[in-house]
């Protein structure tokens, strides 16, 4: 017995150490580097070929000191390593061998920028799963699962970004993104954010309404721990910040974030999200499709993700054109100027696109915010101005025991002033439907 234990124990221990050493010696990135070296050498002859073949197989990394990153992506992606591939171009078509598409690396030297600052993922990792690769389609996901045992990198909240979300990374530095052809999704996102009233409730770097969170400072940088995925219907592996943001445009936010209106879990009733269901048509064009299409949702998500914080030296920024103020704009009419003000301050958040339909407001008396086209003509110009300046506190609940409605009219007197206010009033009275005379 003791003799058997002695022998088998020693044999097993020796075997385990061999396995440990083998695991360490044959790392998954090595074949890629070896293949690349061979593929590169095949095209050459003589001394060049010898030089290529004598290149050591080792972990290669970019120390992007300015950005505080260590990226080891080029350990496998040798086509983007400026030592293995000084020209940064090759004719290979397969990943991980092919060189970077486009001329991005000409303007963004990979030894200075690294990869992660644009692509996301875990640059320090040296295996496929740990790197945080993200498939761009279900088909690719299945293929990766088969080939690499793919799953999202554990405990890494910034997986790689696919198109078009990666455009958000460009926006981090490029203030001129709206005029760049490569970042049209992000530009579209910004445009949608400005026209659908997001900034009536949310803020963007501090600018916007006071009702909900700052999309740039908070939402884009929200840690996963703080997100309650209970009602998202997402599988565990899809529970990412990106999907969370995007779902807000594709699903009913009341479903995503139902609160606790009946006080089942909390002692106080809590209203569901104040956000609209953008999967429904807008009141302005009830016969059209959803107010925000799938592409719109992607564009908005892309733009919001551009606000993810990264420590980028100021010298890296590219100045964009300054935002135009009301005085700098040239309007063809007062009404058009008023429409611009209506959009700028996000009035559409509650009063709908073109002021045509009031949005829903949980447990608010009547359940909907007023549709301005209908209600404006009840006021004189002075009354309406005062109403906008003072705001409206929520006092009227549909169910007195229910939760406080999430939306309310804030006071605008410090924001909309002077000519902006007057043109807004012009605009509102211009679209008001005539009251019937009794």
């Amino acid at each position: 017995m003791i003799r058997k234990l002695f022998i088998w124990g020693n044999v097993l221990l020796f075997l385990f150490f061999l396995i440990a050493i083998a695991k360490d010696t044959f790392r998954p990135w090595m074949p890629y580097q070896r293949n690349y070296r061979r593929m590169q050498a095949d095209a050459e002859t003589g001394d060049t070929q010898k030089a290529i073949l004598s290149r050591p197989i080792e972990i290669k990394q970019v120390l992007a000191t300015d950005l505080g990153q260590v990226d080891r992506c080029i350990t496998c992606h040798q086509g983007m390593d400026n030592i293995a591939t000084p020209s940064l171009t090759n004719n290979f078509t397969e990943n991980p061998y092919k060189s970077h598409p486009g001329d991005y690396l000409q303007n963004h030297a990979p030894d200075k920028y690294g990869c992660v600052i644009c692509h996301g993922g875990q640059g320090i990792a040296t295996d496929f799963v740990g790197a945080g690769h993200t498939p761009h389609s279900e088909a690719q996901k299945e293929e990766w699962r088969r080939k690499y045992g793919w799953h999202p990198a554990e405990h890494w909240e910034h997986p790689m970004l696919t198109q078009p979300y990666i455009q958000g990374s460009c926006v981090k530095c490029h203030g001129n993104f709206e005029s760049m052809p490569e970042t049209q999704a992000a530009a579209q996102g910004k445009h949608l954010m400005e026209t659908h009233g997001c900034l009536g409730c949310h803020q963007w770097h501090g600018w916007g309404g006071p009702i909900s969170v700052d999309l740039a400072e908070e939402t884009a940088n929200k840690p996963l721990t703080r997100i309650d995925f209970s009602h998202s219907g997402l599988d565990a592996e899809d529970r990412t910040l990106l999907n969370w943001i995007q779902l807000h445009f594709l699903k009913d936010p009341w479903e995503l974030n139902p609160g606790d209106p009946k006080a089942l879990v909390n002692t106080e009733p809590i209203a569901p999200s104040g956000m609209q269901n953008f999967a429904l048509p807008s009141a302005a064009s009830p016969d059209a499709g959803p107010e925000l299409s799938q592409d719109d949702a992607v564009a908005l998500t892309t733009y919001i993700l551009s606000a993810q914080s990264a420590s980028i030296p100021h010298a890296y920024y590219v100045e964009g054109p300054p935002e135009k103020t009301f005085e700098q704009m040239h309007f063809s009419s007062r009404i058009q100027a008023g429409k611009w003000v209506y959009d700028k301050y996000g009035c559409a958040a509650c009063h709908g696109l073109g002021a045509k339909g009031g949005r829903r407001n949980f447990n608010y008396l009547g359940l909907y915010e007023p549709a301005l086209v209908k209600s404006v003509s009840n006021y004189t110009r002075d009354e309406l101005r005062k109403k906008i300046q003072d705001g409206v506190a929520v006092l009227n609940k549909e169910d007195p025991k229910g939760p406080t409605p999430p939306l309310y009219m804030p006071s605008w007197k410090d924001k909309i002033k002077g000519d902006e206010m007057e043109s807004l009033l012009d605009y509102l009275f211009s679209i008001a439907e005539k009251q019937e005379e009794f």
Binding site: I19, A20, A125, H155, T267
Partner: protein, 547 residues
Amino acid sequence: MFKLPPLPKPEELKKKIIDSQIWRSMFRGGEWKDTPRDRAQHILGNVWLHLQPSRVRKHGLKTTYTFGLGGLSFFLFLILTVTGVLLMFYYRPTVDLAYRDMKDLEYAVSMGSFIRAMHRWSAHAMVLIVILHMVRVFLTGSYKTPREFNWVIGVVLLVMTLLLSFTGYLLPWDQLALWAVTVGTNMAAASPMLGAEGPFAMLGRNNDVRFVLLGGKAVGANTLLRFYVLHCVFVPLVAGALMIVHFWRVRKDTFSGPIIKPEELPHDKVDTWPHLIVREYIGALLCMVFISGWSLLIKAPLEEMANPTVTPNPSKAPWYFTGLQELLVYFDPWIAGVVLPTLIMMGLMAIPYLDPDKQKGVGRYAFKERPLAMTYFLFGIGMWFTLIFIGSFLRGPNWDIYWPWESWLIHKPPPPRTWSLPIVWGLAVVGAYFVIGMVLPKLGKPDFEWKAALRNGLMGAIGALALLKIGTHLTWEQLGYIAFFGYVYYVFGVLVPRRHLATQTIGRYTTTMVLVLFMLGVLMKMGVRHGFHIKYILTIPQVNFNI
């Protein structure tokens, strides 16, 4: 032509080497002849082996006697020292670098992932094995005279093991580390008098015990450095010094075993080399096989980088402290985190001195001879591990109960609203618990019929339930808790001491019964919380004193 001299025969060569000046200067003794003298010399002449006697009793060799747990604890300590030193080559204890170094160990350093996994899993194993070693020593009565003091040192070594593990927990600087240490050190802030948040607090947040532990008010860069030095230098030195004493006393106090009667002499001793050494080797070997196999299969966990502004829900202490964390549901932190652990440690150290019979049940698992000691010790150990199990596996977000197969995404209703007894009632109840608790076992005869007593108790419990159901609005769930905890008290607070303790001298009876009442008191508090939704039995808010 040049000719090589003929090669010497293997035996000649061996003799030549062994007889050479170099060999003889390094190793005492000449050629190995496998005589009793040689075998003894092998142990006595070797600095590493001479902590063992040259001959041991056969009794001590049986695997099922010691399970080699003490030796395994020490072997795990050795694994941890070696892997720990290797890890130190790559680890820098600063907030910016620590986590990155962990990732480097994972992805770039040769064997880094394997060695880190070994270190991590050995550490968990060591805590478990040290506890089991203590249980074994208790069950075989090996702590009895003349080994009382070595048991005390053993308890201190257990604390050192927990400290080693706890200080090491912070070093990876991930979320798991930061928040586990936050939970652990917040309990220190609840110490009576010495902690800023405890009862009778005298010190502020700037100079209380938590501040000393953390080097700040929250876990930060200072804490990391402090824990690094504690983990790598201070605690290992103290533990090492105590281990030397521990082993020395084992050797000097001799291995425990049944007393040898004069007629049994000469007793059944065998040579340590090879009989004991081979068993020790195999124990260590199997341990090493297990640890390295496990480390090959499962990587050491590493979560997101530590972020003091993002609190995971739930934040759990390291597993060996989740039992205490679970008690936070029922007690204020100063009780769960300070008073109870102190009482447990003091109680453990007191065991050999409270034990009335110095001879009974030494050297074997004698349940029948030491029913009282065995019952309470196993009861306490069972409670400890049950609480750890609940805290580690059954607690989810907001510290609600989640079965292991339940999704943590489900929202649970809040716990029922609690209330506290007014102070006069509180004093009365606590006083009555201890006074009646001391008296009850003394009433009635020690030689009662067990079966009848248990049955009567059950009948009594059911009767009380029926009365309560009729007379109050308590739910069946509450009644179930009341019946369960009441019955536990009846058995372990009345029947067992009545049978085994009531006949002791008054001094021993009082000391032991107080400890028993404290232990059962923990359960009783759980009982009144679940049964009557009572938050505090006695609360004096002026001095932050709540129980």
